[in-house]
Symmetry: C2
């Protein structure tokens, strides 16, 4: 938060809200800042807690509502982690894509749909389905976490 590297992303989120005809209220601005400030994925509860640390009195429901709104604008996306719990990641609303998520630190990369579209199309045709949606999620260990891991292993050896 605070003017910094993410302030432009904050601004983009707010613009998306306005463009869609929603008010850019202080609460929503706060959520936008918090979202923009996270590197990887985050849960609603985390956001709420961080939000409360900065500014008292942001309601739980308000946070959920803001996230729901941002999700509907495709500014964030809800992930289903392998653990079964839910998390959100900030997202480029302009282009369909998928996510590669580090299961250790939560960092997330956008993955272009690429050849997948063709694949999905073919699967639909082959099965006679009219495909309406698809979801691809990749989970793994990011370079940083991987490096940290091997480093630790070596000091132990």
């Amino acid at each position: 938060m605070r003017p910094g590297i993410n302030s432009d992303q904050t601004e983009r989120i707010i613009q998306a809200l306005k463009r869609a005809g929603y008010q850019a209220t202080p609460n929503r601005r706060l959520v936008a800042e918090l979202v923009a400030a996270t590197g990887g994925h985050f849960t609603a509860a985390e956001l709420l807690e961080r939000g409360r640390r900065e500014r008292v009195n942001i309601g739980r429901a308000t946070v959920f509502r803001a996230l729901e709104l941002l999700a509907s604008l495709r500014v964030v996306e809800r992930l289903d982690l392998p653990s079964g719990s839910h998390a959100y990641v900030v997202c480029d609303p302009d282009e369909h894509h998928h996510h590669l998520v580090c299961s250790t630190c939560g960092r997330s990369e956008d993955i272009a749909d690429g050849e997948l579209a063709r694949l999905v199309d073919e699967i639909g045709r082959r099965n006679g389905y009219r495909i309406e949606a698809h979801r691809l999620e990749l989970f793994g260990i990011c370079p940083a976490c991987s490096a940290a891991d091997t480093a630790e292993r070596e000091t132990l050896a």
Copy 2:
């Protein structure tokens, strides 16, 4: 249920349990039957209700525990529907694959991983991640529902 087209699937599920060293108790048999009897996806609550209709006194926790067990054996898989709710589908445990689900009737088809493996691999390499898991889910309208839909449309016209 009842000896029928799905009795062999029921048996396969039970064999999977035994093979993994778990007891094939009456409750688990019941769950296996119920699972085998569903064409498409089902929720834990549905299963519980159907189970109670056949045989009183199967505990909620028991059903959840059985499903968890079957999921760990890859005999069923938990889906995250676009709606956000969870459902299970029966699954071939022997080969990695994905699911194509009808958003109208819930019917589900197994989809071979095929080229996806290569794609996933490449994405991992390109981003320096060590990929641990991936999930692909496809949603659409199955041929039957599609046909029913157009038929209805025509009678209205």
